[in-house]
Structures are given as C-alpha cells and as structure tokens.
Symmetry: C2
Subunit: 526 residues, 2 copies
C-alpha cells in the first residue's frame, strides 16, 4: 500500500502511478515504491489544510514554536537513519556533509523559526495610537512547498527553510517532496507527524506527497485554497508554476537558476593567486557543484597572473576526484548543458564528458573557457545553467571588455568580487560593483558564495530570473517568513477584538513593534 | 505642438494620435490637445530613466527629500490653478474636496515621503556584525505609475502616493497620466519639473506621458529597463498589465476593484439606526461613490430595525442631489453595471437610470437590493463593481445566511462591521470577522472605509483581486515604498564600500536599523 501524509494520517494514496529511487553512486534501484499522487490526493490535502488553517489562526506563536522544536528534536533523534537514507538516495557523503553540516543546519533553521514564531517580531506590528489604526503581517494561508533535489534535509519541502518559515508564520504546509529522495522525505515526514501529535497541532499542519504529474502541480499552485507557493528548482519547472500561479493571482516565490559570477580583479590574482585557486575549486566542487550558489562563471582580465590562475583552476579540477551527481538524469542534463555551451562557443579546458568506468552518476570535473568578446556576443546562450561540477572561465582582454561582459549578465542570486587588499583594484571595483549590484541579490567581497549563512541579514534571493521577485529571500529568518504573510490592518477595531500583537499591552516582552514612530521592545516606554 | 515631459524637457511627442478632455459637468470639450504617445516616446523615456537611475543610486535620501519638498511647495504655490483645472476636468468641487482635502493630502504625502527618504528607516537595514553580513532595501529601478481617474492629485501618476513612494525609494518615475485630466497632470508635471531643476535632480527623475495605446502600455510594463509598475484602476486594465508584467518577470502592484462590504449587525441597527443611515449615505456618496473604498455592499439580517434602515438609506439616496460623475463614459459604465446587477437578480429600490435633464455626466443615486440567498447563489455576478453612486443592500434571512453570504465574497480592500456598543452582537461579530479577515486588507469597526488615513499603520491593499499581492500597501509611508525596493545583501564587503545605511556608524541619528537582534536608533547603544 502506498501512503501519503494527508490530514494527519498516512492514508492510501489515490495515485497515477508510482516510482522508485535510484542510488546515484551505484545505479542500484532502491527499495520503497512511492506513489505519484493524483488530483484526488491534492484535493484532500487542500481541504484539510484549509480546515487546519482556521485552527492555526487562533493559536499563538508559542504553539507553533513548540511544534517546530519538537520536530527538530525528532530529526536529531533520528539523525543516523536520516543520513543513511539520504546518503543512499543522493550519494552525498554522510560525513561531513549530511551529518555534520546539512542536518545540523536543518535543525538550526527549525529552531530559529521557532524562536521567531515565539517572539512575534516577524509580524512587523505597526501601531498608530492617535488614529487607532494598527497593522501586522499574518498567515497567508496554506503554503505549497516544492523542494529541490540538492538538499535532502535543509531545503526539503517537509523540513527545510521554506517549510520552517511557512509554519512559523502560521501557515499549514503541503510539501511536494523531490522524487529523487522519497525515503528521506518519508522519514522526515514521520518525524513531523510525531511532532504534530506530541504538540497537539491541527492534523493537517504538515502534509506530504512524493510526486505529482506536472498538470496537477500547475493546478495545485493556482487553487483557491492555496495561500502561496514556494519553489526551489529548475528554471523550466519554476517558470511553468509561476505562470499557473500568476494567472490565478496567487503569490509564488521561486528560487531558480543562478550562475553566481565571480570577478577576479587583476590585483587579487597577483596578490594571492594560489589561495584563490583553492578557494574557487573548493567552492565550485562543493556538493559536486550542485549548490544554488555554485560559482559557474569566473571572470578574469588579461594580466601577469591570468594564465597561471586559469591553469591552476584546471589543475585543481583535474586533480580532484569527481563524485557522483545527485542522479543519472542530472548527469545527463549536465552533459547536455556542457554540449550546449560548447556549441555556443566555449572550449573545453578539461572534462566535458561522462566519467568512464564509473558505476555511478559521475561526470568529469569540467572547466570551459570563453573570451570576454564571445560572452558579450553570445551572452544568452553562454548563460545556460550547467548544474554540477562545471565552471566557465571568461577571459576578458581588458577592463572595458570585462565591464561589458558583466553588463550582459542576467539576474543572479550572488556575485563576488575579489580585489587586491591594498586598494589597487578599487577604481575597477567600483565600476564592476555598480554593474553587478543590480544583477544580484548578494554581493560578496573576497569570498565565495557557497555556504549561505543562517543570518537575519542574509539574502538568498535576487533579480529575475534567479527568483520571481527581487524583494524576498528564502533564507534568513525572520525575513524569509515575509513571503508567507499577508498584511492585515485593523482600523478602529475595538481593543478586545485585536490580535495579541496589536493590543496596547504586548503579549510578552520579547516582541519588537513600531509604535507611534519608534521601535519598542515589549512594554518598554521610549 | 504636443509635448511630453521626457529626459527633463518638454519635447515634442512622437504620437499615435491625440485627444481632448471633456468637462463632465457640462459636456463641453476643454481646450488643450494632448498626444497619445507612441512607443518611441516610451523608449526615450525608458532610456532616460535608466540613465537617471544610475545617478540617483549615488545620491543620498536627503537629495530626494529636498526634491519632494520643493515639489510640494510648487503644488502649494499653484494650488488655485491646479484646483481650477482639476475641477473642470473632473467636476469634483473645488471646496472642500479639491482645495481643502485632496490637495493638502497630496502635499502631505510628498512631505511624508521626503521625511522617509531622509531618515532612511524604510531601507530596513539589518546588520549582523558577527558574520559581517548586511542587507537593506534599495531602489528597484525605474517605476511606471499608471494613475486612476478618481483622484486627480492624490493618486495622479505624476504627484500621488505611488509617485511619492517610488521617488522616495530612489526610483525615477515614468508617469502615465489619466487621460480624463490631462491639463491637471500637465500643471503638476510643470511643478515637478521646476522642482527637479531647483534641486538639481537627474533630468529624468520624473517623466510623463498623457496617454498610450494599450499595446504600448503592455509593452512598457514588461520592458527590461523597468524596475516595477504601479497601477490604480479597473480590474480589466489591471489584469491585462499584470499578465504582461508577469510573463516578463517584472513586479507589478495593482489596486483594482473593491466592493468594501459593510456588515450591520442587528444590535447596531437597533442602537443607532439613524446615525448609521447618515454615515452610510455620506460615505457611499462621497466623491459620487467613486472612491476605491466606497461601500458598495451593505449586509443586513432580519430584525426589528432592518426595514427602517433600508428605507432610511433609500430616503437618503433620494434626498441628496446626484453630482456629475468623472466622465460620460464612466456614467455609461455605471449604468451598464447597474443593468448587469439587475439582470443578475438585483431589484431597484431607487435610481438605476441616467439622470434626465442634466447636461452633466449625472446618474441617479441608486440603491439596489438582493436577498442573502440570491447573493449566495449568484455571488460572482452580484460582485461586479458598479463604480459610482450605487450601493446594494444584501438582506439576509438570518445569521447563517449572513455568514454564508460573507464567505462568498472575493478579496476586498476593506470590510467594516458595525455592532452594538454593549457587546450583544459579539458572538456574531466573531464569526463574521473570522470570515472577513481573510477577505480584506483593512478591517474596520463602527466606521466607514472611505477616508484612507495617511498613517504608517494603514493598509490600502488586500487579497486578490482587489490587488495583485496581499502583502503590499499603496498608502502608508514607509510601507508603501517597499513595493519599489529590491533586497540587497552585502556579504563580507569591505567597510568603505558599503552603502551609508549599512556602515557601522549610521549616516545620521534618525535611522532605525536592526543590529544583532535589536532595533537601534541612529548610533545609540542598546
């Protein structure tokens, strides 16, 4: 019997078919047959979410916080089993990646979200006592989360950042797990269900389906019962969902492709060429290049160290073993993208082919090369994302060409600029950063973009088409919760009818509110 | 010669045709021939805006504040001329409406926006000193503002709330004036140009066209040079623009139709029937019913005072003179909507026809009537907006029917509930407000929704289809500025390269920033 988590129970799925996962390291088909849910499953989940929302609207943040913490504890308790399952389904190493980095990050996100739900400052309460007008952000309604393939815990629809933010904001979540890691998702959903039961949350606070036909996915995001959707994944998938949500007038937040350009100014290469080679290879090959923030474009200009730098990158990519990608289809897609880039004019410095004699989904570490002129002339095609262990060096003849090339970049999540520590690159830095600033969500100096810190100041977002709206972030609590909120104003509403966060006396002393022109913590008088 | 304001000059428009305005009070064609701009005009404006944006990005808020204040002063100086022109083009009375209410409001909005630009708290700077990650909201790029017909000053694309918010956020504005009041718009644009010149702002800080073919309008909002669009107007127009912006991945903020339901609970009618009749008629006929927040649906249940209340509304609508609408086409559209509502089952209590023997665009004050049952059964058709001096009473047999009727409401900007002051309506209030809360942006008690206060706590927004996104407001500074901002993060960026608002030392002592978990004013140490 194939079950999905709907309305608080593992019920039999009314499905359109089923699937099994594959171990990308071995090619072995993994045990566990999982359903491709039909619209009937979606419909049941939507009804249940709608019912649970009503209950959640009358809860306070403390109850959601207790749930998120109980869920975090369950994940912690089941860490070994979870890492084992995720390792089989993704080929990501248990140590350090899954057990020491991603799982702790996931737990940390849930706990940060709990704290945010508890203190309530995310509601951004604004009180105008003179006019008796008050407003705050509140739950937008049931949130559908489409998780990506590349982080089986930290971005999983049933446990990741979007999930945590939506629940903390008071929204029931309907998770669409990624079909590459169904067992991991099932185990996480079991943890979530235990936490729901332990903390007495409404039955459909968390629900999960493993897979959907694309037609049902499109219908889901535009359904009238949905509040909003969060999606992390490919541009093709994201754009189709965006269209379906847009025409229904439903907010959708997308985190799609990003090439994360890195600009190495001449002074930086002269000053610390060797270090930069190691940093670049470490970042570019982290997670086999399957991070949203993986550096896919390396911009350099002609200078005394340019050749040495490029050769160093090539050597580093050659000397490091290539690990299996997340799936065989992902490997094939990467190869296809590499071929497209080559057809668009890129030449191969190393790699560019499937790895022979590997039983796993391995692709040779690949470095491509184009001139700045080529990039300017054929920017669109040369900005096709190649998701995996591939990066492209863009070698510009001079500063002018560099700036022109940067100006042809699409929107990205990140952009990094390395410059000499003594300030000798500063004039060029200024021109480059002016151009990049409007083309990225996060601008870095002397630092690779991988490793998205869990900070309230983080922006894991950026201009279209890296996301669907440049004003939102999917990482960084409480700002990431904003996506799942609607603005609610109370005008002359009688005091006893106001939500707690908008009453004269705050619900507790940890909430920041903006009252008559000043931010006030709890009940302090300014 | 027909001129538009582009790149800092009144240049000859490359136009597709021209038009003249009409005095809706007399039917007289007004002097002044205005161009319907071609794509060439749009293209020039976009290029110029793009250039000016670059300069504006290097300005601080103080410079924008000075411009906004100079503009406000120009409007104040030219108040008499402006009111005269607006009166001719809209038939709105000079006193009190234009001179004593709308013009002061417009000036006040500009000055509030100036203050917000100056203090910079709108950037919502977040600083994580430990990780050296910092983020803030910054100008999204050139903003296109489509102004509506109903507020020739306060919502005009060249002077209204969207304009003020966009400029304050650092975005050049391309205003598309409403073709019903071109001379008013020209006079305002002249004031704006004077202020640009006086304060040395970039030439294309403000630009204006009078009219566009719809094809060019659609192309404009999706152009790559545009940052975002704000639109206030009809659902048909808004939805077409939304579609064009959505497929181009461009943010668009829409304020479309809203029926602003008012629920009169039985106790309220028993307690203060007479007052409520006056309040309702005052609000429903304010601006000849042409406010976004005009109460178009009055819900009552059977009770001892119901008949008296309905009769009172009818008497009030009968006894008050009907003033000219904003245009003859608006009058015809209102008549058409009234007919649609009647076809959908509404009966006429009074009005429902063009006013005879009037040389102006007058429509009889109209009150329609449907039962709660009808509204539940035919809710979609009975929620067609009738923009003008028309309201519909929905008479429900009992509480259950009332709640069902409310549950069939679409998204609205506002919803109001009147209840007995002694608490006797409180049980029903709770059920009704639960339903209405998710269907409106602003919930009111014992108060009509017209008169949208300029408060930081205001929400002039709401769930789709009253707007395109329920998380944004078009009134209420600084929140309304959020629409024209993009989130920009600086990760490990060297101190001297940071924008002023993100440096350790704030640019001045009036800015609120969120630093390491606390809101801090200026340089105070918490």
């Amino acid at each position: 019997m194939q079950r999905v988590l709907i309305a608080g129970e593992w019920i039999e799925s009314v499905h359109n078919g089923n699937f099994q996962a594959t171990n990308p390291a071995t090619g072995e088909t993994l045990a566990g047959i999982y359903p491709i849910s039909s619209w009937t499953d979606c419909d049941r989940a939507l009804d249940a979410a709608h019912q649970s929302l009503k209950q959640m609207l009358h809860q306070d943040g403390e109850q959601r916080a207790l749930f998120l913490e109980a869920f975090a504890a369950q994940i912690e308790k089941n860490a070994a089993t979870l890492c084992e399952a995720a390792h089989k389904e993704t080929a990501l190493p248990i140590k350090p990646r899954l057990a020491d980095i991603e799982l702790p990050r996931t737990i940390s996100q849930l706990r940060q979200a709990a704290q945010a739900a508890r203190d309530g400052s995310y509601t951004q309460a604004v009180i105008d006592t003179k006019l008796n007008i008050r407003s705050c952000f509140a739950a937008i309604g049931p949130v559908v989360v489409f998780g990506p393939n590349n982080f089986p815990f930290a971005f999983n629809g049933i446990s990741g950042g979007d999930f945590a933010a939506a629940i903390a904001a008071g929204c029931p979540v309907i998770a669409k797990a990624h079909p590459l890691h169904p067992t991991t998702s099932r185990l996480l959903a079991e943890c979530a269900k235990t936490a729901v039961d332990q903390t007495g949350m409404p039955a459909a606070t968390v629900q999960m389906m493993y897979h959907l036909n694309s037609e049902d996915g499109l219908r889901l995001v535009g359904d009238s019962r949905v509040g909003a959707t969060a999606f992390t994944g490919s541009r093709t998938g994201g754009m189709a969902l965006k269209h379906a949500a847009d025409i229904a007038g439903k907010p959708i937040y997308l985190e799609m492709s990003s090439l994360n350009p890195i600009v190495f100014l001449p002074g930086a290469l002269d000053e610390r060429c060797k270090t930069l080679i190691i940093e670049t290879a470490d970042s570019g090959l982290a997670g086999v290049g399957q991070f949203c923030t993986s550096p896919n474009l390396l911009f350099v200009t002609e200078g005394p160290s340019t050749e040495r730098f490029i050769q160093g990158i090539v050597d580093a990519y050659r000397s490091r073993a290539s690990a299996p990608l997340l799936s065989f289809s992902g490997r094939d897609a990467l190869h296809h993208s590499a071929q497209s880039l080559i057809e668009a004019g890129a030449s191969v410095l190393i790699g560019g082919q499937l790895q022979e004699q590997s039983s796993g989904a391995c692709y040779c570490n690949t470095v491509l090369y184009v001139s700045g002129k080529q990039f300017i002339e054929n920017g669109k095609k040369l900005q096709e994302e190649a998701f995996g262990n591939l990066t492209t060096v863009v070698r510009c003849a001079n500063d002018t060409e560099l700036l022109q090339a940067l100006a042809s970049l699409e929107g990205n999540l990140t952009a990094s600029i390395y410059s000499h520590s003594n300030g000798s690159d500063d004039a060029l830095y200024e021109s480059a950063s002016d151009i990049l600033r409007s083309r990225c969500g996060r601008l870095l100096n002397d630092k690779m973009p991988t490793g998205v810190a869990l900070s309230p100041a983080m922006n894991h977002g950026g201009p279209y088409p890296s996301t669907g709206h440049p004003g939102f972030t999917s990482v960084g609590i409480p700002r990431s919760m904003q996506r799942f909120c609607t603005l609610q104003c109370y005008d002359n509403v009688r005091a006893e009818r106001l939500p707690g966060v908008l009453r004269d006396l705050p619900p507790h002393d940890r909430i920041w509110r903006y009252i008559d022109g000043s931010y006030v913590l709890g009940n302090e008088k300014n």
